[in-house]
Amino acid sequence: MSSFGFGLISAAVLAIATVGFTMQFAVTNVLNLAYGSIMINSAFVTYYVNEHGVNAWVALVGGVLTGAIASWLLNRFVYTPFQKRNLAPITVVIVSLGIDLIGTFGLQAIVGGGYVSFTQNQGREYHFAGLLLSSLQLIVMGICVAVLVGVHGLLKYTRLGKAMRATSANKNLARNSGIKTQFIISTTWLISGALCGLAGTVFAMNAGVFEATSAQLYIVLLLAAMFLGGPGEPYGAMFGALTIGLATEVSAAYINPDYKDVIAFIALIVMLMFRPFGIFGSEKTN
């Protein structure tokens, strides 16, 4: 049962991260493999603000801003120029791998290779329907619920959200219908970048200790969650993250915990082989 609790927390962190990741894919058609490096950079910004005596939950704002600004810059000055050259999608993916190396190891060069942790305690523990959760974990879950509700509200009820959905469905048609797609794409990267920064920070808080390369393989979980729900589908991402997060932690109770991520890997590979458009998705026109 405790593994179920861990699973919920992992799923919450993963859901925040995956929604941001899949939104980027939706509007720009880029698999941004540098996502994990921006996550961990954001976490380190929060960490340094926290080191200066600011409460970790307040310092989190610094991480969110870092994620938003870094992602916006990345799209504006790297991905967009490359995409304008009409290259194969794989070129941009290779570029994103290069950026990931720069982001991750640039950080490591600055902060060194050691582990750090936030100045913060886990808070008191609560018994909750048979689960034992710390207040940190409860806050993470609260943040996750707020994010998912927020994203839902954004997509469903605001002009901006509708324009984002239109841009993701068909960029040219959206542009011809008078939507300023370039503005929408930029805004999407700001919002998804903020989610990336937020996810990075709560990921690091949840992990307890972390270092510059801690999020390097997180991209695999992200990809698994995204492909499970269908690439570019925010609701699919929520479903995928919940499934992957729970499955990895719950399976850790039954098999060697070293293998807990294997289930995510296998889910991803199976999805790519048989249903690359997600469990609920259907083939796209293009």
């Binding site: 698999l31 493999l33 790297v78 120029p81 490359f82 290259l87 194969a88 999608p89 794989i90 070129t91 941009v92 993916v93 290779i94 570029v95 791998l97 290069g98 950026i99 990931d100 190396l101 720069i102 991750t104 190891f105 640039g106 490591q108 060069a109 060194g112 290779g113 510059a212 393989l217 695999v220 990809l223 698994a224 060697n256 070293d258 293998y259 991520d261 294997v262 890997f265 296998i266 991803l268 590979i269 790519l272 082989m273 690359p276 259907s282 083939e283 796209k284 026109t285």
Partner: protein, 612 residues
Amino acid sequence: MSSYGYYIAIILVYASVDAMACLGLSLQFGVAGVSNFGFIIFQSVGAYVAAVLSMPNASTSNGGFQKYILGWHLPWPFPWIGAALAGGLLALPFVFIVGKRLRGDFAAVGLLVSAVLLNLLATNYVPLFNGAAGISLVPAPFQSHFNPQGLSYQFAYGLVAVILTVGAYFLVKRITESPYGRSLRAMRDNDIVADSLGKDLRMQRMSVLVVGGMIAGLSGAILVEFITLWAPGAWGYAETIVLFAAIIIGGAGNHKGAVLGAILVPVGFEEVTRYLPPVGNPALVPALEWVAIGLLIVLFLWFRPDGILPERRQILSGNKNAPAPVPTAADDESDALIKIGDLHKLDLHKLLHLEPTGNDHHVIFSTKGLTKVFNGVTVVSDVSIDIQQGRLTGMIGPNGAGKSTTLAMLAGTLPPSSGQIFYEGQDITSMPSNKRALNGIVRTFQLASEFKKLTVLENLVSAIPRQSGDTFVGSMRGKRYWGAEDRANIERAQELLEGFGLTQYADSYAGGLSGGQRRLVEIMRALLAEPKILLLDEPMAGVHPNLAHRIGDQLTNLCRGGMTIVMVEHELSIMDAFCDPVIVLAEGKVLAQGTMSELRQKQEVVEAYLVG
């Protein structure tokens, strides 16, 4: 001074191992466009297999302190052969991922994840790989006869490694320069189009995965028996990125560039950083190395995407000295002034090896209830048409009428949601598009579909079916086997090119042509695919009207000789002049059918056009 000798020997081995890996990856990524982000697995598995084949039984040797499988204690060269075979066999399951329908970047991610997964398993599963500790005491070849630490032994080892690298170079070169290599490059530039011209994408991708995997496996074997260690930590997925950096910098698709990249990146980085004084924190230098590799990838892809040694343009015209004119902006504008050439004089039947069969206008090609639904939207609805042999059937309709979608289903590019397609009475609904092409059903595309980094002449020749050098085995048999036939094919393509007035662009990259010129290339390419049924999707768009009518005359000639053509076209004057019958589609349904003059009388057809 013998320490320099050792140093040189070691560098020879390392450089050979990296160069071989880069050659394998250059074939896969540079030539065939298969982004194998899991390349390192092949090298590590080869290394592992070589290790366990050469080591003695795990439980009886060295007190059984390490665990591994096999332990056959085979003499050289069997462990190396086993490594190459293992690398090749390992490729087979990955064909499921790089198979034909998956987007290239999705497949790449699948391979990347596989690499991470296998590394995770190797690190944690002790009985197979001895866990994170890895295997040590791998015997060097002939270590009972010679001293592996001796200078002459190490030099000999380096020499063997270099010889095998040269062998790998000639192997990938042989494949690349053959007609099969041309097909691989065509697939790289546009896989859907290559598929529609009859190329078996699955087979092509499998062959480069197997060959590249064998080379990688062998390179792993060379490394592991030299350093006598194998540990999973050395084979992280990031090592693949280093190899990608190497071939991007050296020049993907140019195998000399791959070797150069191997020397500059993996070897160069390792050797240069060896001499750096220890500064800052201990993680600093390795971290900066990774940053540098990331920067090099991004900067090269931006400033010099073809690398230091770009892929060489293949001059097929035989005119090696004349520089191929690069079409300029001025040419774009002067499309109307295009030299029409002597198209009307061309005997296409002879050129295309078509036996005039005579016409009986029987129903050769038909559909029953053909329907296509995308995301809940019905684009083509219950279309049943009969195409008569030897006729030039036109297909018109407003935008969004489903013309291109229908054509794509006829050619097999898109699977129908329901309905059937019959060819000479046989149900071919589930026949893949490349098989249809080989059976004579060939299509062109509405959007630009030239193979960009193939010359115009290569574009044309690539379409010719059943070339003896266009199989993996054929390419292995070398130029002596396929050369004469290829020469003849090139001459045919040149003759066609002359008829269409594009001879001066024979050796230009097709990607540099103007829109109208590219359409012509596409028509010629489709003709060289020797179609029985030719499906043309707006072939005349952007083509000068005079030339369009000459092409129309030739198409009519071809129909007279027995070819069946279906042509989607917006230009009604073309329909008037050449097409009979004409099918009108609107909103995914067949609205009417008949000659153009009959259709002009029909109120609903005129309305559909006016409304659309």
